[in-house]
Structure formats: C-alpha cells, structure tokens
Symmetry: C2
DNA sequence: GGTGCTAAGTTGGAAAAACCAACTCAGACT
DNA sequence: AGTCTGAGTTGGTTTTTCCAACTTAGCACC
C-alpha cells in the first residue's frame, strides 16, 4: 500500500521508494517496459501471487506510473489493460541502471540476456551521468549536494 | 537473506534486485553514499530495526557491495565500519536515477533537497542514456534488445 | 576493581506482508 | 444451458518486519 511514511519524506529517493520500493514492483515495471499490459501476463511471467499483483498495480495506478484502461479485442469480452504513463516510461533509466549494475556485479554465466542499444545506429548505450551540454561525466565527478530546502 | 531464486535468474534486473531489492536496502545505500559507515549511524538515520539492519548489512557484505572492517578511533574501543566497495559506489547511478525520478514525479512541496552537480564546474548533472561517444541519447531512442543468451 | 557509558549487536513475541490454493464473476462461444 | 478464460477475491499458512528488552565488550572515571 505504498508506505505513506516514505511518501512524505523530504528525500526524493525515499519518496520514489514509497511508490516503487515494495516487493515485485520493479519486476512488474520491467515487464511493462517490455510490452506486458495484461494482468495474466504479469502473473504468468513473474509467478507473483494474484492478490499481491492486484495491490501493486493499484498503487502504480494510484501514483500515476501506470493507467488502467478497458479495452476490447474483437471477439473477446472487454478487459483491463495496464499501460505505462510518461512517468512510468521514465523509469526506463532506473531499470536500465539496475540492469547494467547486475550485468557487471552479479553476472550470470551465460552473460547478459538484454543489451541497451541506440535505436537507429544500433550502437551500444549505457546509463551514465550527463552534464548540461549532454556530455557524459564520470561518476566520481558528480556530487550530491544539499540545496536550501535541506532540513536542519 | 537476498532471495536466492532471483540471484539465479537470467535477468540482470532480477539478479540486482536479489541483492538490493529488500526493504531498506536502497536507503542504507543512500546513507552509505553520503558518508555513513557505522551501524548506529544507519540505525539512527533510518529508524530501522537493528535486527533487520544486521541482516541487510550482512547481505550487502556477502555480495560485495560493502566491506566490514574493524577500525579504532583513538580513545575508543575497536568498532566495525561498513564501507562501499567499487561495486557499491557504482550504485550511485541507480540511486541518482531514483532521486531524479522522485524529484520529478513524486515532488515535495519544498522542492528537491539534494541536487546532482559536476564537482569542478558546479554545473547541474543528471542521469541519462549515453552512447559510445559519450553523448546523451533520448530515452525513446534506446531499445532493450535480446542477445543470443536470451533463453527460449 | 567496580560502576557507568556506548556501540553493536541478539533475542523473543506481536503485527504485517507475502504466499498458495480454491473460489467467484462476467462475457463470449458452442 | 454449459464451458472457457481473464481478472480478480477470499481464507488460511508461512515469512518478514517491527518493537522492546537484553547482552557483550572495551573504555573512562572514581
């Protein structure tokens, strides 16, 4: 139920995790980013208990990460489909960063099963820090600094 | 206990979450990235139950995200300090991506309390997709593609 | 050399969340 | 009328988490 304590935090990481930090949520988003839209798709792909899936989809919809829309395939009764919103699609970066970290630091013997590539050029892409001019900056060259809004 | 089912997955995201996906872990890492090293620092800052903190630190150490080292301040008894490894420091990218998403999509009325800046120039930085040449690419232009290792 | 202090835990019991199997419900199709 | 399927709900068990109290080890002071 998207731990409300965290949603009020002044820390953006805690607030993100208030929405996304429960078990299964990131895996649901991974599936959604790769095209899953239906309850049964998530359930079968993940092996998640249906009551938990119901709860997770509800919080994702509640916080604007996904929408729930009725749709009807011809010759089928109306169903509900879950689609990522713009906010949800922006999580591609978070998912990509997790994927990249897992590739490197929790490797599987067969190597990566998914790679990130630029659509047109087909060249490899990765997640990194970028400055205003769109140039990559090394991780060590980025500092997390307190703003004026930082509490005392 | 770092759900072993996920650690064997061929999906790198699932493997990452097998190590990092339990409650509190990302917040522990956030604190670690901002300089916390001691048990009590994490406990007091997060309000986490001590038994859960013990368990989380143990899995982070087990999977090479942090190290546990005895150290001694003069005039104090020897204690254990927890430090991020290189693998742990690379999670800055994941944490940064979560932070950025929270800033934008789960905003707090006071605005962000932390911002990402390039160390020398002091200019803002963000997390993004980058191609081989170090140039940022839009999220829409990045595809997640299956490799030969993708299971049937 | 006993008492108190503090950091880093451990332990035991209560509460919350996740898991699992079985069941419901509604429309389409036969 | 009966069957199938997707999308859930329900009830009971197991696993995690939470919380408060307890332990342990070394230092400092008297």
């Amino acid at each position: 139920m998207a731990t409300p304590k965290m949603l009020d935090s002044t820390c953006s990481i805690a607030r993100s995790l208030g929405v996304l930090g429960e078990r299964w949520t990131f895996l649901i988003l991974r599936d959604a980013l790769s095209g899953s839209t239906r309850f049964a798709q998530f359930k079968d792909s993940l092996g998640i208990a249906p009551d938990v899936l119901t709860a997770r989809l509800a919080t994702l919809v509640e916080y604007g990460v996904m929408t729930r829309e009725p749709y009807q395939e011809p010759g089928s009764r109306p169903r509900d489909a879950y689609h990522l919103t713009d906010a949800g699609r922006e999580l591609k970066l978070v998912i990509g960063a997790l994927q990249q970290w897992g590739d490197r630091h929790v490797p599987h013997e067969n190597g990566p099963t998914i790679e990130r590539r630029v659509r047109d050029s087909d060249r490899p892409a990765h997640v990194g820090f970028v400055d205003e001019s769109g140039r990559e900056v090394g991780t060590e060259d980025v500092a997390f600094l307190r703003t004026a809004a930082y509490p005392a």
